[in-house]
């Protein structure tokens, strides 16, 4: 814990809480926006996190590196929100079909498919991914968390994180390969969400 936090901690826990949280707030906000897809829901999610963090401030202030803990709680709250909306059903809707690990993950030729794709179309394709793949893609490519940090945040082994990353990227590429349609599980999620995402 930094010297300044130790200084404030002895005076008032409230000040120490704010000092502890402030350096992580911007990154958590960006992650909330990316996960929720819009700033209004992201703000609600962040407020939930602040509430949870305040209620666990003693544990939080004892951590040398509170960032991953905060991200893990934020992710759990995000998943809870998705479940309440009924978007996330059983485990079958969370992952696309297994890809044959013996082959390269894309067999759609030698073109860089995504360079000509507009940003909003790419973002829309990412939004259509199964949630567990989308989340690790946003954590890794969106916010630069390491594979080990992501494994802690989503509470799966590092190998599973890598696997989900590969599948997510393959699915996004497949969405823009000629003659490819979105995976059925993504359509299910869109229908359950009322087509809002």
């Amino acid at each position: 814990m930094s010297t300044l936090i130790r200084i404030w901690r002895n005076l008032a826990p409230g000040a120490a809480f704010e000092v502890c949280l402030r350096p992580h707030l911007e990154r958590l906000w960006r992650l909330a926006v990316r996960l929720q897809g819009n700033p209004d829901d992201a703000e609600d999610l962040l407020q939930e996190l602040l509430e949870r963090a305040w209620n666990n401030r003693r544990q939080l202030l004892a951590l040398d590196a509170p960032g991953p803990w905060l991200a893990k709680v934020l992710y759990r709250l995000h998943v809870d929100r998705w479940r309440r909306r009924g978007v996330l059903g059983d485990a079958a809707t969370l992952e696309s079909a297994e890809l044959d690990p013996g082959q390269p993950l894309a067999s759609d030729g030698e073109r860089a498919l995504l360079s000509a794709v507009a940003t909003d179309e790419l973002l829309a394709a990412v939004q259509r991914l199964p949630e567990q793949q989308r989340a690790v893609l946003l954590l890794y490519d969106g916010e630069g968390y390491t594979l080990e940090e992501i494994a802690g945040i989503v509470e799966v082994p590092v190998g599973t994180v890598k696997s989900r990353l590969h599948r997510a990227r393959a699915a996004v590429r497949a969405a823009f390969a000629e003659g490819t349609e979105a995976a059925p599980v993504a359509c299910t999620e869109l229908e359950a969400a009322g087509g809002g995402r």
Partner: protein, 197 residues
């Protein structure tokens, strides 16, 4: 020689510098020779650039909410609260030099570490109290070389409020450490001399 599957599996490790030199050279060599894998790598970079783009800024109201949360809204300022009346007792004193101090091998010769303690016993809860700690020449806050004063704002709870500040003292340093507490135009000053060590 790495095959396509191995290279595609290692793209993130290559980008993040986690491959050893030999594997990194093999992977780069493969990417130069293999259009399909080069396309994969280009698409992964495109996706990362898009997902890592800027988001809507965090509203200041959220930060204010954090401060209110940290300030604990259950506290109340009484109309008649004043620093002089509320703070019934204050003291500033040196802590004992530890027999086995925390690792000080980072200290230059002629410097020693000491803690100064500030105690304020308040009859009322006070919000927005201004604190300052002025240090004489040859005395610094640990971890903040060259800094001869601290200024911060915090709240006082009813009863005992304690603050411990780790300092480093240069041999031969003299003078006083002065703690000043201000609230709504009234202030209180506490002093402790280095000669009291």
């Amino acid at each position: 020689m790495m095959d396509c599957h191995s290279v595609q599996d290692a793209l993130d490790d290559l980008r993040d510098g986690r491959l050893n030199a030999r594997s990194a050279a093999q992977a780069r060599g493969h990417l130069r020779e293999c259009p399909a894998c080069a396309a994969q790598a280009a698409d992964a970079e495109r996706l990362r650039a898009v997902l890592g783009g800027p988001v809507v800024p965090l509203r200041p109201a959220v930060l204010e909410g954090l401060r209110r949360r940290a300030g604990d809204g259950r506290r109340r300022l009484t109309a008649a609260a004043s620093l002089v009346l509320a703070v019934a007792a204050g003291a500033l004193w040196w802590g004992q030099q530890a027999a086995a101090p925390t690792p000080t091998d980072w200290l230059a010769d002629g410097w020693e570490s000491r803690t100064v303690h500030l105690a304020l016993d308040s009859e009322r809860a006070l919000e927005g109290v201004q604190f300052s700690l002025e240090l004489p020449t040859g005395v610094e806050v640990q971890g903040h070389p060259g800094r001869s004063s601290l200024h911060w704002q915090d709240d006082l709870t009813v009863g005992a409020n304690r603050l411990s500040v780790p300092l480093v003292l240069q041999a031969g340093a003299g003078g006083e450490v002065v703690a000043r507490v201000e609230h709504e135009g009234r202030s209180r000053e506490l002093r402790v001399s280095l000669e009291n060590l």
